[in-house]
């Protein structure tokens, strides 16, 4: 795969390790400073997570009195047990809700965005550009700005405080449509679609069996973006939901955190809960990054 990407400067460091002649063109100074910059950023991003891990492993009395960046008595599992036991496992329910909102929303949202982008790229019909431009406009509108109007609309049809009030708005991804269109027009050859049609495949079948396979990298990207966006979306559930059993984990932890002054024990649970809540995101990224990297390099052939 890396042989496909000689022209990408961002991948230079790895390439230099593989190909000796190119190394001479980069001065040691450039390499060292690049490493330093990356090292600093890595630290910047990882230290808070490290802190979270360490803090979550302490019991409450050690939390204030010991070094914040190193372990004291290791009681992480005990803490996790307490968290899960608190209020009959409401935390697990939140995690499950988040997984449903984010997993289901991202999956359906990706399919919709993929089909929509594909249609915009491959079919000629009147109003195509208009639709695309409206969708593009949607990219510019922040989701937070839509939460309140959505609440009022959902109130009209008595759907607030339901699973659907968070799930349905999560299905829409204008950026996904945009990406899918760009990618489909670049990577799905018209000839291939033509060939599939000649072989007697219907449009849907062509899409799902031929085009989707070629669009996988774009679709994975859309899925990841959408998954992370829904997982982190906090404002919409905050406005829509009142029933604790429907909360996603972000809202639940926020609600706990706002009560810490009155119920100090919640502070521990917020910390441990925050730590556990990033694990699914890490897993998704690790599982899907293979596709993603493929996608980046595939684009560079052009």
């Amino acid at each position: 795969m890396s042989t496909l990407t000689p022209a990408k400067p961002a991948r230079g460091i790895r390439s230099t390790a593989e190909k000796a002649p190119r190394a001479q063109r980069e001065s040691p100074f450039a390499r060292v400073s690049a490493m330093i910059v990356m090292g600093v950023f890595t630290l910047y991003f990882l230290v808070p997570i490290w802190w979270l891990l360490v803090a979550a492993s302490k019991n409450r009395s050690q939390f204030n009195s010991t070094n914040p960046l190193w372990f004291a008595d290791f009681s992480l599992f005990e803490n996790i047990g307490n968290l899960i036991a608190y209020r009959d496992g409401v935390y697990l329910k939140w995690m499950l809700n988040s997984a449903l909102y984010a997993g289901g929303g991202a999956l359906v949202g990706t399919i919709i965005a993929g089909m929509c982008g594909y249609a915009l790229a491959k079919y000629n019909f009147p109003g195509r550009e208009l639709i695309f431009n409206v969708v593009l406009g949607g990219v510019l509108v922040p989701a937070t700005a839509l939460a309140l109007p959505l609440f009022l609309i959902f109130s009209q049809i008595s759907l607030t405080n339901t699973f659907w009030s968070v799930f349905l708005p999560s299905l829409v991804s204008p950026f996904g449509v945009y990406l899918a269109r760009i990618y489909a027009s670049a990577s799905v050859p018209d000839e291939l679609i033509e060939a599939a049609r000649l072989d007697g495949a219907g449009e849907l079948r062509t899409f799902f069996t031929v085009s989707v396979r070629m669009m996988v990298p774009a679709l994975v990207t859309v899925f990841l973006f959408q998954f992370v966006a829904i997982w982190n979306n906090f404002f919409l559930p905050l406005i829509m939901l009142r029933d604790e059993t429907l909360f996603p984990v972000t809202l639940g932890l926020y609600a706990w955190n706002s009560q810490v002054n009155q119920i100090p024990v919640l502070r521990d649970y917020v910390l441990i809960g925050a730590l556990l809540s990033i694990i699914p995101l890490i897993i998704i990224f690790l599982l899907l990054q293979r596709f993603w990297r493929n996608g980046l390099s595939a684009g560079s052939v052009k």
């Binding site: 409206v134 309140l148 009142r242 029933d243 926020y254 009560q259 502070r267």
Partner: protein, 442 residues
């Protein structure tokens, strides 16, 4: 170009929707508008939004005893964390819950926006006045004798938590007046510690000090609001703390942080003037100091006075639009006066009751180990009776807190003074009320 124009149009349209739907109309209605409050026919379902943990269990007890009036508890973050904004959105959309938890300092905002049901006509509500500590009733009727906009739930009478061991070991007398407090502060500073921490962002605490000094920040004559952040009492309190800050006799850690906890845990901070609910905050923030704390009544402005401030506390309100105000009011009364409910709430959320009978709960008569076995809630019960009924909150407290806190943060770093902060908050509060078309006396 075409893309840009369309995108701009879409964005504009959305923004307009937000503005249209988001801004609340600032209408004031004055006087009681008590509608008839009749029992409903048949089985009634009520919804109750609160952020108090364990409320489901309390509601379950009620539901057990009242099969015809079933209460469903809904939850969310604390009021200023988003639940109040949700209430306003829901009131606008017409699907507010029947009952909601509202802190005293937020009640005027809901009143001004006409979101509260006047419960005066509901059976037993006016008579319940005698069941509650006097000043808490003033917080829910805004001084109107024939109106009741919520039922008091909990209160935060203030007293002084102090390190009994350190005061004794260093032969420093426990201050009973603010003058003695300042003298003791010098003695404490000489040992290397600080007598207390001045909080730059707990403006409610500062308001509690002003409350104790006999001041009030707001006044409402039925139509117009008068804003008085710079009343003589308020300035007196500000000058007092400014002096302690200037002489480096109090620390200025941001409250509720590790730094702040640590200062108490390591014994470098000796006292905390706080509310009844603060007892657990110290116990959890400074676990190593268990057994060394005691509680005394707050220092007074003049020797022999008996005044206390209040910090926090909330009420149970019935929202406009509730179809079952009668049943909702009955539940609110039961929730906040029955020993059973109050005991459960105290256990699950450390609520300190606003009901007189609640102060006599067995749970609030016991000695507390963290405080060397002292029955600390006896002190708070005494303080609760000393809180003045005259302190009134304004309709834009979030803004007042933010603006004052901005000024206080400057003051503790030597940028301006606390009085400057109050002066500028006074003006910005007037502006904020006028921006919402709420009439202001200038």
């Amino acid at each position: 170009m075409q893309i840009k124009k369309r995108a701009a149009a879409v964005a504009l349209l959305t923004a307009a929707t937000v503005v249209l739907t988001g801004c609340a109309s600032g209408s004031t209605t004055s006087g009681g508008d008590a509608a008839a409050c009749e029992p409903s026919e048949g089985k009634v379902d009520l919804t109750f939004t609160t952020w108090i943990p364990g409320m489901e269990d309390v509601a379950a007890v009620w539901n057990e005893e009242n099969p015809d009036v079933q209460v469903k508890v809904q939850t969310g973050p604390n009021g200023n964390g988003g639940t109040y904004q949700n209430f306003f959105n829901q009131l606008k959309a017409g699907n507010a819950p029947d009952l909601g938890q509202i802190e005293y300092d937020a009640l005027p905002n809901f009143r001004v926006q006409d979101g509260l049901m006047d419960l005066a006509a509901c059976e037993g509500v006016l008579d319940a006045k005698a069941d509650f500590v006097d000043w808490t009733w003033g917080q829910v009727n805004f001084g109107e004798d024939d109106a009741v906009y919520a039922v008091p739930q909990d209160a935060g009478p203030m007293a002084m938590f102090y390190r009994a061991d350190l005061f004794a070991a260093n032969n420093i007398a426990i201050p009973t007046t603010w003058e003695e407090f300042a003298v003791a502060a010098e003695a404490v500073r000489a040992t290397g510690g600080y007598i207390t921490n001045f909080s730059q962002s707990d403006i409610n605490q500062f308001a509690g000090f002003v409350w104790q000094a006999g001041g009030s920040w707001f006044e409402n004559d039925g139509d117009n609001w008068t804003i008085d952040l710079t009343s003589p009492e308020s300035v007196k309190v500000a000058d007092y703390w400014q002096d302690l800050i200037d002489r480096d006799l109090v620390s200025t850690n941001p409250p509720w942080t590790d730094e702040w906890n640590n200062a108490y845990n390591t014994g470098s901070n000796w006292t905390w003037n706080s509310a009844a609910w603060g007892a657990n905050s110290i116990a959890s923030g400074a676990p190593d100091t268990s057994g060394n704390w005691s509680v005394a009544l707050s220092p007074q402005w003049a020797a022999g006075d008996d005044a206390a401030g209040n910090w926090g506390g909330s009420s149970t309100a019935v929202f406009k639009g509730s179809k079952h105000p009668y049943e909702a009011a009955q539940f609110a009364l039961w929730l906040n006066t029955s020993d059973e409910a109050l005991t459960m709430l105290n256990k699950s959320a450390n609520l300190y009751p606003a009901a007189k009978s609640g102060l006599e709960l067995p749970a609030l008569k016991e000695g507390v180990e963290f405080y060397g076995g002292q029955a600390i809630y006896d002190v708070f019960a005494e303080a609760s009776a000393q809180v003045s009924p005259d302190f009134i909150w304004g309709p834009t407290m979030t803004q007042v807190y933010n603006d004052t806190s901005d000024g206080f943060k400057g003051a503790v770093t030597g940028n301006g003074t606390l009085t400057d902060a109050l002066t500028s908050a006074q003006q910005s509060t007037i502006d904020a009320l006028e921006a919402q078309s709420i009439p202001v006396n200038k």
